[in-house]
């Protein structure tokens, strides 16, 4: 077990993983202010959490999952309040053909899977455990996400991190 005081835990979480949480939020939110709000919410939850973590990896996975859940909640709230751009529909890519923008335009499940796999480096099984989905489902998300990206970017996507 990972024995560390609450304050130490929190400090490590902020210094090491706030960037990861921010990136996860940035994949979802359209502007940085909303992303920062999400990050703050995540860390508030960390402060309120009473349990302990088995390792730093466990802490990171927990932070990411909370961030993804928070984004999901926000999208539901947003869809109920007004009629913005539909988050689940792939929006047309930005003019600079940025891969990041294309990924952000993906549907939520595909986007999460691609980010966690190709940036954070989790395997499909780890992503499945993190998101609460079977491994095969995660693999199908990755597969379909890549297909959508290919369509959107109309370029060959080499999958080097499989």
């Amino acid at each position: 077990m990972w024995r560390v005081s609450q304050e130490e835990l929190y400090r490590i979480a902020v210094e090491n993983y706030s960037d990861s949480v921010y990136r996860a939020a940035a994949h979802h939110c359209t502007n940085p202010i909303d992303a920062e709000d999400v990050v703050q919410d995540v860390y508030e939850k960390l402060l309120r959490r009473k349990g302990s973590f088995s390792s730093e990896e466990h802490l990171k996975a927990w932070l990411l999952r909370v961030a993804i859940n928070r984004c999901h909640d926000l999208s539901r709230a947003a869809s109920q309040k007004d009629v913005p751009l539909e988050e689940t529909m792939p929006a047309p890519p930005a003019a600079d053909h940025s891969v990041l923008d294309a990924v952000r335009a993906l549907p939520e499940q595909y986007r999460n899977a691609i980010y966690l796999h190709y940036f954070e480096g989790y395997t499909a099984a780890e992503i499945g455990r993190l998101l609460g989905a079977p491994t095969n489902t995660v693999l199908s998300w990755l597969h379909r996400g890549r297909a959508l990206l290919h369509t959107m970017l109309q370029e060959e996507i080499e999958d080097e991190m499989v």
Binding site: Y22, L100, Y118, E155
Partner: protein, 350 residues
């Protein structure tokens, strides 16, 4: 385009230092309350699958269904047995009470009414023989857990009563042997034998019947007396016959009378035999649990539960025996199923 472009872009995102400072400044239980609008409903947030709850619920339903069906099955035959027993017990009680009365004219009237025979004058003035003629028949259905002991006790009771066995058939079946015997018991020890037989095992059914054949008996006896008178007279005539023609005539009549006499005598003998030795049919069954003969609801309920369990176990045993009998087929089917499962798994893993 490679994935590293994506990674580089993401690398450029990071939490601002101001944000980190804010995060570090946050203390437990002293959050700067922001004006969030909490979502009205929780969306499909990421949760563990609820299959465990579903599986537990399904298992509970299955268990309840199995127990319920066993109770119903167990109550079915038990319920039928109880109703049959109560009906026959009522019928047997009245006929037993009638048959076991002392040899009195009133008893004859009772048994006549019970068995639906034609009424007969209680005085018995037409009777050419003393006393009354009654044929007793009984049928006992017994259940026992200790088959050998019950059977030995029955034979012992029979010997003690001075009776004999007319015929018996026994069938062994797995653990459930059954025996059917037709016994002849002298009329004197009839009651005692029935009581003793009832002690050897659990009585499921006891029915008795008493046929009063006095009227027929006296009829037959009268005919015989009549024929004997004819025979005597014919013999006298035979002695004093003059001509051969008369002699032959008399001889012919004599032989005819003799034939009838023998026939009726045979019938009388049959009556005598039946009256002297009562017929008792005993069916002995070996069981695991007794058919409920208890009076109270709880007794019957408990016995029904036990029988239900027994039925279930026997059913499983029968299935196991049947499968064992078909073991080559079972082996082939199992091998085919394993092969199919392996093939399917390989396809999925592709």
């Amino acid at each position: 385009m490679k994935w590293f472009e994506y990674q580089m872009e993401v690398d450029q995102l990071h939490a601002s230092d101001a944000l980190k400072a804010r995060l570090l400044a946050m203390q437990p239980d002293s959050q700067t309350s922001r004006d969030h609008s909490a979502p009205a409903q929780r969306g499909r947030a990421i949760r563990f699958p609820h299959w465990r709850r579903w599986a537990a619920g399904a298992a509970a339903c299955a268990a309840v269904a199995v127990v319920g069906s066993q109770v119903l099955l167990g109550m079915g035959p038990a319920g039928a047995g109880i109703s049959t027993m109560s009906m026959t017990a009522g019928g047997a009680a009245s006929s037993t009470a009638a048959a076991y009365d002392a040899a009195a004219p009133e008893a004859a009237a009772y048994s006549l009414a019970e068995n639906g025979l034609s009424a007969r004058s209680a005085a018995g003035a037409d009777s050419a023989v003393a006393g009354e003629k009654i044929i007793y028949t009984a049928r006992l259905t017994l259940e026992t857990k200790d088959y050998d002991a019950a059977r030995a006790a029955l034979e012992q009771a029979l010997a003690a009563a001075g009776g004999w066995m007319e015929n018996s058939s026994e069938s062994p079946y797995d653990n459930r042997r059954s025996l059917s015997m037709t016994l002849r018991v002298p009329a004197d020890s009839y009651e005692a034998f029935l009581a003793a037989a009832g002690e050897t095992a659990s009585v499921v059914n006891r029915s008795e019947q008493a046929d009063d054949v006095t009227a027929q008996y006296t009829d037959v006896a009268g005919r015989i007396a009549n024929l004997e008178g004819q025979r005597d007279r014919l013999r006298e005539l035979q002695a004093g016959a003059d001509t051969l023609a008369d002699l032959l005539d008399i001889e012919a009549q004599l032989s005819d009378v003799q034939y009838q006499l023998e026939s009726w005598q045979g019938q009388l003998d049959w009556y005598d035999d039946q009256i002297a030795s009562c017929t008792v049919t005993v069916d002995l069954r070996e069981v695991e649990t007794y058919t409920p003969t208890g009076e109270t609801f709880l007794e019957r309920l408990g016995a029904a539960f036990a029988e239900g369990w027994q039925n279930f176990v026997l059913g499983l045993a029968a299935v196991a025996v049947a499968l064992a009998g078909l073991w080559p087929v079972v082996l082939l089917v199992a091998a085919a199923a394993v092969a199919a499962a392996l093939v399917l798994r390989r396809r999925r893993r592709r």
